[in-house]
Amino acid sequence: MSDRRADPPTHRRTGEPDGAPSAAVAPDRAGQPAAGGPLLEIADLRVTFATGDGVARAVDGVDLVVHAGETVGLVGESGCGKSVTALAVLRLVEHPGLIAHGSRVRFEGRDLLALAERDIRAVRGNHLALIPQEPAAALNPVLTVGSQIAEVVRAHQHVTRAEAAWRALELLTAVGIPDAEKRAGHYAHQLSGGMRQRVLIAIALACRPHLVIADEPTTALDVTIQAEVLELLDGLQRKLGMAVLLITHNLALVAERTRRIYVMYAGQVVEEAPTEALFAAPAHPYTQGLMAAVPRVDRPAERLTAIPGQVPPATAWPPGCRFHPRCPFAWEKCRSEMPALLPAGGGRSARCWLLEEGQETGRQGPDAKSEPQGPDARTPRDVQRAGGSVP
């Protein structure tokens, strides 16, 4: 650990005012494609796992786009495939997981799924970074945090050990760790959960990323520490202009800090919408159900509206719409035919047959509306009455 005590390399900037992006964390814009195309473009992503109970289709045809500099939310409950989606983008899906042929992941114009292992490692390090959920598990317990950051710096940039060590200190300072020199010599177990998550953010930033995928970055943290870490991430994002894909089960987290949101259920995106539109009027019954089920600290309810039943196993997704067994509006068609993502107005789209019904009734006028079949069939009007929305 003598590196850290080496003389500072000559190019190290000192005396920078707080808040200015330091050389260590400023994104390296060279090599970015011409503006216009999305930064990340996922199309028809499918990931399967061979299990004892059959093939689990964990991610089943996901389309998702992140533009440069924007924060996008990916929301869903456990088992919906949101984390596997993140891993697939980074090509970190491990055996027995398989990314199906025909899946496409384009990042900065390059097809990540077609890259050789050596080349994907270079992308993963340099422009695309992951902030994992469990900081305790993601850090090496027998290396100091300073040397772990320096290791990442050296893996991706041609710098000397001493330079890498200095960069580690700069990064620790940038993520708000007080007394960085002392902390750099600490091991993971000597740090609190919030500190460990800051270290992981520092490691992610060491790559000067253009896109950070944050997978439940604060789930393991207390609420006050969570707020602190998210503010930090927000601040760094604004300062460095990177894009963030924020993956979480917590609707409230994405409400406050994203521009657009994807909601996943049973391996599929079931709704995509600008954040304000989604919270103002969720189009998919699952999104509506989730919002009604969350107790709110600002608006207490007499009784929560629970979504009946539970998420089916990934080895046995229901036929038709995957949400139909739990959906209060399901009718015959929902049980047999899977809906596509249909436009829902206001830049939203949702995977729900009600939208098609809604459009038809809209086109044909109120007289021509056809009653759906089935004992518990509902019309879009009932949805509106029930607090949902069909534009």
Partner: protein, 334 residues
């Protein structure tokens, strides 16, 4: 034989559970060879009361001592000082047989029912065990009761033959609740009962707990780190920080106008699922201090953002006082 624990049931004025000045300290060995000892001051003088059919919500972040407090109430850990009275009887003074009888009336629901249910025991047997240990029912009568308990918590009766691993998280928590209910308790200590569940299932379990309270007249000590959950279930809420209650009051008043700077910061940190409300967030500096070396004076003073913080806060520990009836707060400046 008179049963000292049973005898006084029904006295209207006395709270069901009364905790006074409860202190729980642990000594642990530290250092490379375990040669040093340090004292963890997990619970440091906590007082509260819960009446019949009442719910007290207890919120706090990890390490604040809320789980230790729950365990001390049940005498699953021994207290260092202070008293826990259940229905008027000092839990610490009970003989083993009396303690067993008291525990029948005082049950706990854990965060992770997977860890608290025996993986090699069917759900039916797990629920039945309490019935038999406490000699409530045997044979066919026990079978009948097990089925009706499972139905009451929303599980199909045939799930009695299933093992815990065959259940989803929500179903396991239902089984854990059925098991606690088997012995017909009066008070349920719920320690983070919905924290491991997805929101759609969490709502099911919260609604179940509300229904059971209405039907059986249960009292709850409901412990959670999630303020929204506590606000939903508890009409009265206590906030813990570093082994002490720093504020306690009616949920409505406490959430609308928190008085303690810690409660204010905690509430401001909770994200709200509404992109149109922009709230100012009080970000606390640093991490909570270690309960091994709690600071002198007010336990919150090293992180306290109150503008009027002064020497008193650094040296003198504030007592819980009641600025308005039923609302207690431990702050020199509140």
């Amino acid at each position: 034989m008179t049963d000292p624990v049973r005898r006084s049931a029904g006295t209207p004025v006395r709270p069901l559970l009364e905790v006074a000045d409860l202190v729980v300290h642990f000594t642990r060995r530290t250092g490379l060879f375990g040669t040093q000892r340090e004292t963890v001051q997990a619970v440091n003088g906590v007082s509260f009361a819960i009446g019949r059919r009442e719910t007290l919500g207890l919120v706090g972040e990890s390490g604040c001592g809320k789980t230790t407090l729950a365990r001390a109430v049940l005498r699953l850990v021994e207290r260092t000082s202070g008293t826990v009275r259940f229905d008027g009887y000092d839990m610490a003074a009970l003989a083993p047989a009396e303690l067993r009888r008291a525990r029948r009336r005082l049950q706990i629901v854990f965060q992770d029912p997977y860890a608290s249910l025996n993986p090699r025991m069917t759900i039916g047997r797990a629920v039945r065990e309490g019935l038999e240990v406490h000699r409530i029912a045997r044979g066919a009568e026990a079978d009948r009761r097990v089925r009706s308990l499972l139905e009451e918590v929303g599980l199909p009766p045939e799930s009695a033959d299933a093992y815990p691993h065959e259940f989803s998280g929500g179903q396991r928590q239902r089984a854990g609740i059925a098991r606690a209910l088997a012995v017909e308790p009066e008070l349920l200590v719920c320690d983070e009962p919905v924290s491991a569940l997805d929101v759609s299932v969490q709502a099911q379990v919260l609604n179940l707990l509300a229904d059971l309270q209405a039907r059986r007249g249960l009292s709850y000590l409901f412990i959670s780190h999630d303020l929204a959950v506590v606000r939903h279930i508890a009409p009265r809420v206590a906030v813990m920080y570093l082994g002490r209650i720093v504020e306690e009051g009616p949920a409505e008043a406490l959430f609308a106008a928190p008085r303690h700077p810690y409660t204010q910061a905690l509430l401001s940190a909770v994200p709200v699922p509404d992109p149109t409300t922009k709230r100012s967030r009080i970000v606390l500096p640093g991490d909570p201090p270690s309960p091994v070396h709690p600071p002198a004076g007010c336990p919150f003073h090293p992180r306290c953002p109150h503008p009027a913080k002064d020497q008193t806060c650094l040296s003198l520990r504030p007592e819980l006082t009641a600025p308005s009836p039923g609302h207690r707060v431990a702050c020199h400046k509140a």
